[in-house]
């Protein structure tokens, strides 16, 4: 998850995710519980926190059987992407799964959730993190035979920098210089300690995937992707399937599978049916009821379930520029009257979803306790009564999507807020329309997503006053200063102190109402092995599933 990328998707995703049963769009961050150390090249691991919660299904790997090459795997995706040019096409979250097969990201996560070089040999900062040096591995070639070198990497960064979608992610990138065939030097306009985070190819960040220069130069490149990944592109029939075949010239050990077929199946019921009928071998879901149902089947040996770390949370965003939400008493009262267990019951999240009390999950390294209000109906009523006596009735519009489930969810909030004396008018808008309205500041309260979860620097543009993308309209000089300081620092503990300030300010002022984490389960057929395996180039274990994005190079099938 990067500074910024693909945010529309994350947001739409997060909003869509609320459709518990609709399952599984949505942002999740791999680095939720572990901050990134700046020196990603040293290989020294000094974990500053416990590794992410990662409850692998043990049955996905059977130690008694040796992995064998061969076979085909059909993966069900929840949505189709518009194209596979990492620098031009904003992917649906599932696009990253395809991208992980065709491309390699410059960096990825080790088993502890720390960002480590992957396609890059090393990614090293100077002392104040204003100059970063990327050295790529030698002998790596793209699928079209051209070599991966510093110039190819530079072309990828340049294309991203010039891309209207992703340019803002590289706003701090000043200039680039090719030092030698394998070394690229990037000079930042200000210290950027968390730079490698955007290179890990996760939901929200496509910058790390390296595409062949020929592909970047072609107008048709997005439909004929060329990477360095474990699988080469074979064919794509949009909305039907995308097929990739094993890359036998891979720079690591070649993958086991002969081919992988990705099939976008937008309807969640149909996706589940396709899995039940054996038409697809693997899919992921964010619906906790579905996860639980499969966990029961797993006990009978019928299916395997692998669960990733919790991701960014669901949330409600308040427009602090718009009365009555410009009054902190109203905002606190709204947060105090949200009954999380009642909400979770509705969202079908029995036990899988965890309540959140700020942008970062309670288990996150970054989390600090703040004055964010607890559930307190009487207290909320008192605050509202105080406001009403002073300024008049509390009435506002509550915007969300058009899906009936979303509307029902809004009605649940409406009933909770009515109890404390607020008049809530529900507004339903199409996704594109909703995003446009929020950008234009034409909203009061909205179901939103895509904030929080990962590295706090990722939320810079959402929280800082100078970005034009702080849609809640809330900021303080204190918070701006902490965000700037956190970005420049490299030591995790020192950064945490800054982000503690941010969380404290947010907790007091409540521009957002936090509800709970998102969680994904990977559902696989019992003969699909190695889903929870992923080795880094040096042989040490990496993080195989980041959110709902998974690696396929070590996946194999029982003969």
């Amino acid at each position: 998850m990067g500074n910024r990328a693909n945010r529309p998707w994350r947001r739409i995703a997060a909003i869509t995710l609320l459709v518990g049963a609709v399952a599984a769009c949505g942002g999740n961050s791999p680095s939720d519980t572990a901050p990134t150390q700046p020196d990603v090249s040293s290989g020294e691991t000094t974990p500053v926190t416990e590794p992410p919660v990662f409850t692998n299904a043990p049955t996905t790997t059977n130690p008694e059987v040796e992995p064998t090459a061969g076979g085909s795997l059909t993966v069900g995706l929840n949505s189709e992407s518009t194209g596979y040019n990492p620098t031009a096409d904003a992917w649906a979250d599932s696009g990253h799964n395809v991208a992980h097969a065709i491309f390699d990201p410059l960096a990825t996560f080790d088993a502890g959730g720390k960002v480590v070089p992957y396609l890059a040999e090393s990614i090293t900062p100077n002392a104040d993190a204003t100059v970063w040096t990327i050295t790529v591995r030698s002998g790596v070639t793209f699928h079209d035979g051209t070599p991966l070198n510093a110039e190819a990497v530079r072309l990828n960064f340049e294309a991203n920098k010039n891309s209207p979608q992703f340019g803002s992610q590289l706003a701090l990138l000043g200039s680039m210089a090719v030092i030698d065939d394998l070394t690229l030097e990037l000079t930042m306009t200000q210290p950027w300690g968390t730079f490698p985070n955007v290179l890990a190819g996760t939901i929200g960040s496509q910058i790390g995937y390296m595409a062949a220069p020929a592909m970047l130069a072609s107008a048709d490149g997005g439909r004929n992707p060329i990477g360095t990944g474990p699988f080469t592109f074979v064919e794509w029939v949009p909305d039907d399937h995308l097929t990739v075949a094993r890359n036998d010239n891979y720079w690591q050990d070649p993958a086991y599978l002969d081919e992988v077929v990705f099939r976008p199946i937008p309807d969640s019921t149909a996706r589940k049916a396709a899995k039940d009928a054996g038409d697809i071998d693997l899919y992921y879901t964010g619906s906790s009821s579905e996860i639980q149902e499969y966990q029961a089947l797993q006990a009978d040996g019928e299916v395997n379930v692998t669960i990733g770390a919790p991701g960014e949370g669901d949330m409600v965003m308040l427009n602090t520029k718009s009365a009555p939400l410009d009054d902190v008493r109203v905002r606190r009262a709204l947060a105090m009257s949200v009954d999380i267990p009642r909400l979770f019951e509705f969202l079908d999240a029995t036990g899988v979803k965890q309540p959140t009390h700020g942008p970062y999950a309670d288990t996150s390294f970054w989390y600090v306790e703040t004055d964010y209000p607890d559930y307190d109906l009487e207290g909320a009523k008192a605050l509202i009564a105080e406001y009403v006596a002073e300024k008049g009735p509390v009435e506002f519009e509550f915007a969300g999507g058009q899906d009936p489930f979303i509307v029902s969810l809004q009605e649940l909030y409406q009933s909770m807020w009515s109890e404390i004396g607020a008049t809530v008018n529900i507004v339903s808008r199409a996704q594109g329309e909703n995003i446009s309205a929020v950008i234009a500041g034409d909203f009061q309260v909205v179901l939103w997503g895509g904030i929080g979860g990962g590295d706090p620097d990722n939320d810079y543009v959402d929280f800082h006053s100078n970005t034009g993308q702080n849609f809640s309209g809330f900021n303080t000089p204190e918070m701006d200063a902490a965000l700037d300081a956190g970005r420049a620092l490299t030591d995790p503990e020192a950064r945490k102190e800054q982000y503690a300030i941010v969380q404290q300010v947010l907790g007091e002022n409540v521009p957002y109402i936090w509800t709970g984490t998102n969680q994904y389960g990977l559902i696989t057929a019992t003969d699909v092995m190695g889903v929870a395996d992923f080795d880094l180039p040096d042989g040490t274990p990496g993080q195989p599933i980041s959110g709902q994005v998974f690696f396929l190079k070590d996946v194999w099938r029982l003969p």
Binding site: R4, A5, N6, R7, P8, W9, R11, T82, G83, A88, D89, A90, P164, Q165, G167, S168, A219, G222, R223, V237, P238, D239, D240, H241, R263, P264, I265, P266, D267, T269, A270, R271, A273, A274, D276, A277, G278, D279, R429, A430, Q431, G432, E433, N434, I435, S436, A437, V438, I439, V461, G468, Q469, F471
Partner: protein, 316 residues
């Protein structure tokens, strides 16, 4: 010849009206393509640039005329979102939808005609009442439920078909048929009720006419009477309805293609609307409109074949 010329003129008029209407409707919807393509985090300059590149600031009629001029030259433009030429995208998808609609029409007729005949032979009998009850049930069941139900029974439980996905006819004709059968049935069932009720009523009327009594008096078998004498004069209404219902079916393909994950035109159209992708939408609307008008043109000609009086009137 004159008939064809007048039909062609009508086709052009319909095309202009429909494409302009769809252009306006999408423009009137709040939200714009720039938000959809660039997302909330693009800078204001990038947004402005994109608006300029896509010519979104020009007045609507100007944009329409530009589009229409290009379209007349056979250039349907490039999708705002995917940069793929629209004609290429449509070419990949149109066959799925044509096959789907054709197959479901065949299925609907294959079920509806026998139902109508058996009902009409003994109007008011228990069989007639049972059939009409069954038709009502088909009409009343939501398409989504039918689709998911068919999938659950025939694909998941029995494993006779694939739950989702599409195989191209040229790759494997049999697999192609298999991949489209369940979606076609889901699309057909609603039509069955409408078709068979119309045909049944027309048949009941026909059975009451003198020439049928005459045929009976000559000692023709019931089968002969139905097939040789009654069906043809009774089928004008059904044929008209078949043409008109193509439009309804195209609407239904949106749902069916989404559930069964078929790469057809319906899914393409709804994506284009949701993302305010004018170019893609306009292309789809042109294809759908031309298809609809052509089908109904064919229906008009069929009328002439079925009933010679229509031919002579048209010639006069």
């Amino acid at each position: 010849m004159r008939l064809i010329a007048s039909r062609f003129a009508r086709l052009v008029a319909v095309l202009v009206a429909v494409t302009f209407a769809s252009f306006c409707m999408v423009a009137l919807l709040p939200g714009d393509i720039v938000s959809s393509v660039l997302g909330p985090d693009a800078t204001e300059e990038a947004r402005e640039q994109a608006r300029e590149d896509l010519n979104l600031d020009a007045p609507l009629p100007v944009r329409y005329v530009q589009w229409a001029a290009d379209a007349l030259r056979g250039d349907l433009g490039v999708s705002y979102r995917t940069n793929q030429p629209v004609s290429e995208a449509l070419g990949e998808r149109v066959w799925v939808t044509i096959e789907l609609v054709l197959l479901s029409q065949l299925i609907a007729l294959a079920i509806a005609i026998p139902m109508a005949i058996f009902g009409a032979l003994r109007p008011g009998s228990w069989l007639d009442r049972f059939l009409s009850g069954a038709q009502l049930a088909m009409l009343a069941t939501p398409g989504y439920l039918v689709a998911i139900g068919l999938m659950a029974v025939f694909a998941v439980q029995l494993g006779w078909f694939d739950t989702t996905g599409y195989t191209r006819f040229l790759d494997d004709p049999l697999a192609n048929l298999k991949s489209l059968l369940l979606p076609s049935i889901a699309l057909a069932l609603e039509q069955v009720a409408v078709y068979s009720r119309v045909l049944r009523t027309d048949l009941v009327n026909t059975f009451d006419q003198d020439f049928i009594w005459f045929a009976r008096a000559k000692g023709n078998t019931t089968r002969d009477i139905v097939v040789r004498h009654a069906l043809r004069p009774s089928s004008i209404g059904l044929v008209t309805l078949t043409g008109v219902s193509v439009g309804r079916m195209i609407g239904g393909t949106v749902l069916v293609e989404t559930i069964f994950a078929l790469p057809g035109l319906g899914r393409f159209t709804i994506d284009a609307i949701n993302n305010r992708d004018f170019m893609a939408l306009q292309g789809a609307v042109v294809v759908l409109t031309v298809g609809f008008v052509l089908v109904n043109f064919a229906v008009d000609i069929l009328h002439g074949v079925i009933d010679p009086r229509i031919r002579t009137e048209a010639a006069r």
